[in-house]
Symmetry: C2
Subunit: 245 residues, 2 copies
């Protein structure tokens, strides 16, 4: 596609506040929180209706460069190149693209006000434990979930069968050093603020790394194997259709 045709097409789409998709050969410079440069190669550009810009290489999960919402975009041809200058003055972030070849440009007004529903999060784990406290220990009595105000952001806390205050930190995945550090911070905070000498700490997660297990034991905490709940599980080896939700 000719550069000046692409230029017009992109300018019109920007004016109409459409989602724009561009594939082209380009180099990319960025300056803002950090700085970056990417030599010439084929990439995909996605400009969204809120001004977000994503630059994607032909492989990999993450955008190689990006600009956040409310970014302004300016497109023009100069010295035989299609230039895209994107700037977010509020964030002091700037991104420049020099496009030497445009493979295609497409744009459309997209209408979408739906929010994704996700199940199986850490929050769902905590909820499950509130409903089935025996997942932690026989005799465990949870008091509150997600106590944000007084003692920090604690997933679940309550009393064990011996009426000892017990803090439960949930992790969806493997429990690591960070998770133990976090639990430790909570336990100390509660000890201090309540003036109690003995507070128990429990890490609820599917598995733990060896080093984390060691640190957990050093601090007298306990690991309970719990996995996040899956409410919508419908797939298995023999099943090909998802069915309705």
């Amino acid at each position: 596609m000719k550069l000046d045709v692409a230029e017009l097409k992109i300018q019109e789409a920007l004016e109409k506040n459409q989602v724009i998709l561009i594939a082209g050969r380009c180099s990319v410079s960025y300056s803002g929180r950090a700085e970056s440069f990417l030599e010439e190669g084929d990439r995909v550009f996605l400009i969204k209706q809120d001004g977000t810009l994503l630059v994607h290489q032909p492989t990999g999960n993450n955008p190689v460069n990006y600009m956040k919402e409310k970014t302004k975009h300016d497109v023009f041809v100069e010295d035989g190149k299609l230039i895209l200058k994107s700037s977010n003055l509020a964030l002091k972030e700037y991104l420049d693209v020099e496009i030497t070849k445009v493979h295609f440009v497409e744009s459309a007004n997209l209408d979408d006000n739906k929010k994704i529903l996700i199940k199986g999060t850490e929050f769902d784990m905590a909820e499950m434990i509130m409903e089935k406290p025996e997942l932690i220990e026989r005799g465990f009595k949870p008091l509150n979930r997600e106590e944000h105000t007084k003692y920090g952001f604690i997933d679940v806390f309550g009393y064990d069968k011996d009426k000892c205050l017990t803090i439960v930190e949930c992790k969806r995945y493997i429990g690591d050093l960070k998770a133990v550090s976090q639990l430790r911070r909570y336990v100390e905070k509660i000890k201090k603020s309540k003036g109690i000498d003995k507070v128990r700490g429990i890490l609820a997660c599917p598995t733990m790394s060896e080093n984390a297990k060691k640190m957990l034991e050093d601090w007298g905490f306990k690991h309970v194997s719990v996995s996040p709940p899956k409410y919508l599980e419908r797939y298995n080896k023999n099943q090909k259709n998802l069915g309705e939700y």
Copy 2:
């Protein structure tokens, strides 16, 4: 665009292992590490040459759904809908899309083997401190950077003017509770493994949150205000062109 035309176009592009961009009205289901459902709306799909799939809503930075590399994609028309079934058997992840309307489909073979160069990272901060140790303290003598083997992943460590072992943890942005916890873990690890009683901990970051500052003081650590270096900084209020790199 008619669904069966889109079907063919996508199938051909998949066979040719091209990058594919689709805009359409759809609902999305996901099952894997967690589970999710997204009601009907207009979205953009990006299928990459390594099998990566990204689903983007018309606003926002992050994909609303995604599948990692090596995902297989199957497209067909059924009951008047264009169905995209993506599965990653190795990861036991599955994503289903029901498309009721296709706005456009584009595809291309993209060639890109360049890697992005980023400056101003935490690593660059540590490097800067190695070169200018007075940024930390007068008399600070750094020994090593990124010591991974013996004492963990410590950014910089060395001796202060009184020959006391000193650990420096760098953060690009505001120092928070997590950062202080991390520093604390390192200091204790070194104390234990070296059998030393006094090890100093310094957090090098631009600013700190109040709670983190308090925790830092509680533990006898110190904050030094350091910002990540920017090697390519060329922008300012009065400058409109980026110039060459």
